[in-house]
């Protein structure tokens, strides 16, 4: 079994109008190479799901800036004034969720559930336009599960069967999104033979992975971000 594939071939799966989940929280875990190639292939009219919008000029922000995204489902845009400006000019529609609720909506999609029930935000304006239910005598919000056509994921190590390991804080949303998409495309820094990973140390089982792209190099975007250094 060998799920490795050329990047161009893997990304033909992403089509206009698709919903695309993109792993990463800041730089760690963001699949910059897959994003750049998606930009290059011109796919448009995307709904993007990502924790945040990276920073201006980086990662998914490039897709926003190029007008390829009509809706962004996210937790915050705090580090990306360009994305905030686009939202304020209504050039993109932004759906905001509490970060852990966004994670749970995605996870629920991945787990084949239809939704979760939470009291987060029940006393706030978040309750507006939400489906309210009562459970255990308590008012709560029913949040529908979220799934995607495609997930773009960055791994530290993959075996050819798609078992993945993530590095440190690069794990974040990646395993959840890989569970929640019909087609999961992974870029990996290292590729190892099937059987090389300790079965107890796999972070995401290969069943969730469709295509693996082996990175030849890590571009500068993957590196330490000078403006965040003390």
């Amino acid at each position: 079994m060998d799920k490795t594939m050329a990047i161009e071939q893997a990304l033909t799966a992403v089509q206009d109008g698709h919903t695309v989940m993109v792993g990463g929280f800041g730089v760690p875990g963001t699949p910059f190479t897959l994003i750049d190639r998606l930009l290059a292939q011109g796919t448009r009219n995307l709904t993007l799901v990502k924790n945040e919008a990276n920073e201006a000029g980086m990662g998914v922000s490039k897709l926003l800036e190029a007008g390829r995204v009509h809706t962004l489902i996210t937790s915050h845009l705090g580090l990306n004034p360009t994305a905030i400006a686009m939202m304020n000019r209504s050039e993109i529609t932004v759906e905001l969720y509490p970060q852990g609720i966004l994670a749970e909506k995605i996870r629920a999609g991945g787990a084949g559930l239809l939704g979760i029930v939470t009291d987060i935000g029940i006393d706030t304006i978040l309750r507006e336009n939400r489906q309210l239910v009562r459970v255990a005598g308590q008012e709560a919000i029913l949040e529908p599960a979220l799934r995607a056509d495609i997930a773009l994921i960055h791994a530290a190590t993959a075996d050819r069967a798609g078992n993945l390991q993530f590095a440190q804080s690069a794990r974040n949303f990646s395993p959840l999104m890989a569970m929640a998409a019909d087609r999961v495309i992974v870029e990996t820094e290292a590729i190892v033979p099937v059987g090389a990973l300790d079965p107890d140390a796999v972070h995401l089982p290969g069943a969730f992975v469709d295509h693996i792209v082996v990175l030849d190099e890590l571009t500068a975007e993957y590196g330490v971000l000078a403006r965040h250094v003390l």
Binding site: M1, G112, A161, N163, A180, V194, P199, V202, G206, A207
Partner: protein, 216 residues
Amino acid sequence: MSYKEKIAARAAREVQPGQVINLGIGIPTMIPDYLPNAGEVFIQSENGILGVGHRCGRGTEDRNLIDAGGSYVTLQPGASFFDSAVSFAIIRGGRVDITFLGTLEVSAEGDLANWIVPGKMAPGIGGGMELAQKARQVIVTTTHTTRDGRPKILERCTLPLTAKGCVKTIITELAVIDVTPQGLRLRELARETNLSEVQAKTTAPLLVTDGAIPRF
């Protein structure tokens, strides 16, 4: 080859390289013995394993390594462990290509009833309902009739359902039958039988394609 072995061997031929499969108790556990490319198929077990290998030889058992049926098993290369929530995420999330399940009854519309007999308390649901409802393909592997000769393949199930309209294919010691929108379609016949015997032992009508029926 016993009738159970015959069913398992025929069922194994439904599996494609690269697929993730889950095996219920009974006949399905015998399927791996007949997989042509076992290394290219990943067996998932509800207790948190992807990549179950063959059963353990005596004396090689690992106390921490059983499958969901309680048998001591080995691993194949590329196996992984995970918790029960992730395990059923694989199942309900649509990443199990085929589940092979035994049954009490199966209907012409693909309804499956294999977990409870009213009046007898059921010993439980286990993972069968989720497998039946969410695996991409549900293949029933079963004897064609009950021990006392009554058909298991019915127009309508009489027992409470496990899942509705979930079964794609039924493999017995006598026949391979596909559930189609038009009804049950006989795909193959065992060498030891004939159409009239199989129809007599099947309550629902069987559609037959023109030409010779392939044998297995």
